[in-house]
């Protein structure tokens, strides 16, 4: 007596699960509109992250388009000093005569790149140590935990200041190194936690029973399930690094001859722009920093939803954005189902 072949039917489970499966991302295979992977659609249809993506893209676009947008060199005296924002100089000029707009636009490049590289370094260290600790257990785990705790306990900014004060060289590369080596602790702790919980999941044990080796398990089973958490960690350290870098540069620990948001602020403070009432010297770089960080915070709302499916909520707003993103046809296809 044979077995009737299992039908290709839909998942059983509570009715609620049939609607939003545990890790189910909206399948993009059956739609006729734009072909976007599920995670991009999710980021774009979450109101907050969509706003964040738009603003951040704008800022990155501005930085990339610097040669077109800001024709003046940020390091040359191009106009009368101390001008408030006007037709020629949208953000005014410094008390030396530099173009604030150029400084902000060109400075974006440095600030963003430094922070991005620092975030890459920091996340790499955090992931390596966190996963190693979780998977090895025993004394390796204890040793890494001790190291993590030390770095967590020491307040980051004072640590950065002290380290910077001791290192004679200044500049973006040093900044990346210093930031990367000090900001990894928080995320390492989180990655370790998640790797620990994944390590005892049945599918990891099943891979072990199937004969998968340690690195195979870490690389094929554990890390792919942590991608969105790694991404969220990266974004977090990214905007943290923007702030820290700006802070260090403001205090004079950056290379004051380079152009970046923090350095502009340094000069604004150095030249007593506040006292002189030249608000444009520090408000615009400050707003740039705040806007970028806020945009990334908002993006992380969406990334959080990716890593934790339980946060996903069906939203009415999704329909409008769905339509904008994937086209009317896709929306109709979705509704017709």
């Amino acid at each position: 007596m044979g077995i009737a072949p299992a039908e290709l039917s839909h998942p059983d489970g509570d009715a609620a699960d049939a609607v939003v499966g545990p890790l189910a991302l909206p399948s993009s295979r059956r739609r006729r509109g734009l072909h976007l992977p599920g995670w991009i659609r999710l980021l774009l249809t979450n109101r907050k992250s969509c706003a964040g993506i738009v603003v951040f893209s704008g800022i990155v676009g501005t930085a990339l388009a610097a040669p077109l947008l800001a024709k003046n060199s940020p390091t040359e005296i191009v106009g009368l000093p101390g001008q408030p924002p006007n037709h020629d100089f949208w953000f005014g000029t410094t008390d030396q005569g530099y173009d604030v707009f150029s400084q902000v636009v060109w400075g974006a490049r440095t600030s963003l790149v430094v922070a991005a590289c620092a975030a890459v370094a920091s996340t790499a260290i955090a992931a390596t140590l966190g996963l190693l600790a979780a998977y090895s257990g025993g004394w390796i785990d204890d040793a890494i935990n001790l190291l993590t705790n030390v770095f967590l306990v020491i307040p980051t900014l004072p640590l950065l200041i002290v380290i910077s004060a001791f290192i004679p060289t200044r500049g973006p590369v040093i900044m990346v190194l210093i930031l990367g080596l000090t900001t990894w602790a928080i995320e390492a702790r989180i990655f370790r936690g998640q790797a620990l919980s994944l390590r005892n999941r049945d599918f990891v044990l099943a891979a072990k029973v199937a004969g998968e080796g340690t690195w195979g398990i870490i690389g094929r089973e554990i890390v792919p399930n942590m991608v969105s958490r790694l991404a969220a960690g990266f974004v977090f350290v990214f905007y943290g690094s923007i702030i820290f870098a700006a802070g260090l540069e403001f205090l004079g620990f950056g290379d004051v001859n380079k152009t970046s948001w923090g350095v502009t602020l340094y000069w604004a403070q150095n030249n007593s722009s506040v006292l002189q009432g030249a608000w444009w010297h520090f408000v615009f770089p400050g707003v740039a920093i705040a806007l970028t960080v806020a945009a990334l915070v908002f993006v992380n709302y969406g990334v959080d939803e990716l890593s934790n499916p339980r946060l996903r909520r069906p939203q009415r707003q999704r329909r409008l954005l769905l339509r904008l993103v994937s086209g009317r046809a896709a929306l109709r296809a979705e509704e017709a189902r």
Binding site: M1, I3, A6, P11, D12, L23, A210, G211, P224
Partner: protein, 331 residues
């Protein structure tokens, strides 16, 4: 090489939290002195309630835990001795496992094909260019058709029954001789369970496999198993051919289980049950572990742990009253 898996004196103690002053750490006796044999073409049921240690036994056999004592002999070697990777890999190619949770045992971000490819590649079961073909064959063997459509899917796109079939296919990929099934149907819908059980029967017959079927469900154990082992508090308290154990149970715990199972065919009834008192597997004292709940307990039951004694041909129980050791009879 013999395809039997012989388990002898398997013991596993876990450290219970909290060391007591002057007494050393408490130990949970999850598994104590468990012995049995898995033979080709036989399904052996390991029956017990949660906390009885049955899942731990299966995991030790799968080399996920290291036993505190005892041996697991397969192909002449003791599999519990941590050996070189080559020996471990050889063991894994012969002894496979199916887990209880059909969703949890599949990686949610990998396709079904990935799950079946990995063991094929790791153990080099087929040459590289035939891997896809073999994946489809495996899916067809477990009844997942059309295989080409199922292979690229993700676990959440399949139903619970289908996922469990994928888990079985993965276990079959390495062409094992022994399959350890840890409650493979308890998280599935009732009407789907029979399909999985029938698949197990078919595989046993077609491929002469040895199965260890861990379950708390006596009825399904009766449906598939040839041999039955009953576990309580980490020990095997009864073993024998399934039908014998179920129709003429020796051990009072087996009798208690049988009386508690809802069985509509037995007619409507409310059975008398013994009073419940919890047993503790933490630092158990000498004597039978069932003594607090046993309606047949006599004096010696609190003093001496009974041995597993063969009271009838092929049927043994761990009970001073129903399966007394020969020397006690003459005492």
């Amino acid at each position: 090489m013999s395809s039997t898996l012989e388990v002898e004196g398997l013991t596993k103690h876990f450290a219970a939290g909290g060391a007591r002053l002057f007494a050393g750490r408490s130990k949970v006796h999850a598994v104590d002195d468990v012995s049995f044999t898995l033979r080709p073409g036989t399904i052996t049921a390991l029956v017990g309630e949660s906390g009885s240690g049955k899942s731990t036994v299966a995991r030790i056999l799968a080399r996920l835990y290291e036993p505190t004592a005892g041996t697991v002999v397969f192909e002449g070697l003791d599999a519990t001795r941590w050996a070189r990777r080559k020996a471990i890999l050889r063991y894994r190619s012969q002894v496979q496992m199916i887990f209880q949770d059909p969703f949890g045992s599949l990686n949610p971000v990998k396709t079904i094909a990935h799950h079946l490819e990995r063991p094929l590649r790791i153990h080099r079961v087929v040459p590289r260019d035939r891997v896809d073909e073999r994946v489809h064959e495996l899916l067809e063997t477990v009844g997942l058709v059309p295989a080409k459509a199922i292979a690229p899917k993700y676990p959440h796109e399949l139903s619970g029954g289908q996922r469990q079939r994928v888990a079985i296919a993965r276990a079959l990929a390495v062409e094992p001789r022994v399959i350890l099934a840890d409650e493979p149907t308890s998280m599935l819908d009732v009407s789907i369970r029979i399909g999985i059980l029938n698949l197990m029967l078919k595989l046993k017959e077609d491929r002469d496999l040895a199965f260890l079927y861990v379950t708390h469900d006596l009825a399904s154990a009766r449906y598939v198993a040839d041999e039955m082992l009953v576990m309580y508090a980490g020990q095997i308290v009864e073993r024998g051919p399934t039908e014998e154990v179920l129709q003429n149970p020796l051990h009072p715990y087996t009798r208690l289980l049988l009386s508690a199972v809802p069985d509509p065919r037995a007619g409507l009834r409310f059975e008398a049950l013994s009073v419940r008192r919890s047993h503790s597997a933490v630092d158990p004292v000498a004597g039978c572990r069932f003594v607090a709940r046993c309606p047949l307990a006599i004096g010696v039951c609190s003093d001496r742990t009974p041995e597993l004694v063969e009271a009838r041909p092929a049927q043994a129980a761990r009970c001073h009253v129903t399966a007394p050791a020969p020397e006690l009879l003459h005492a």
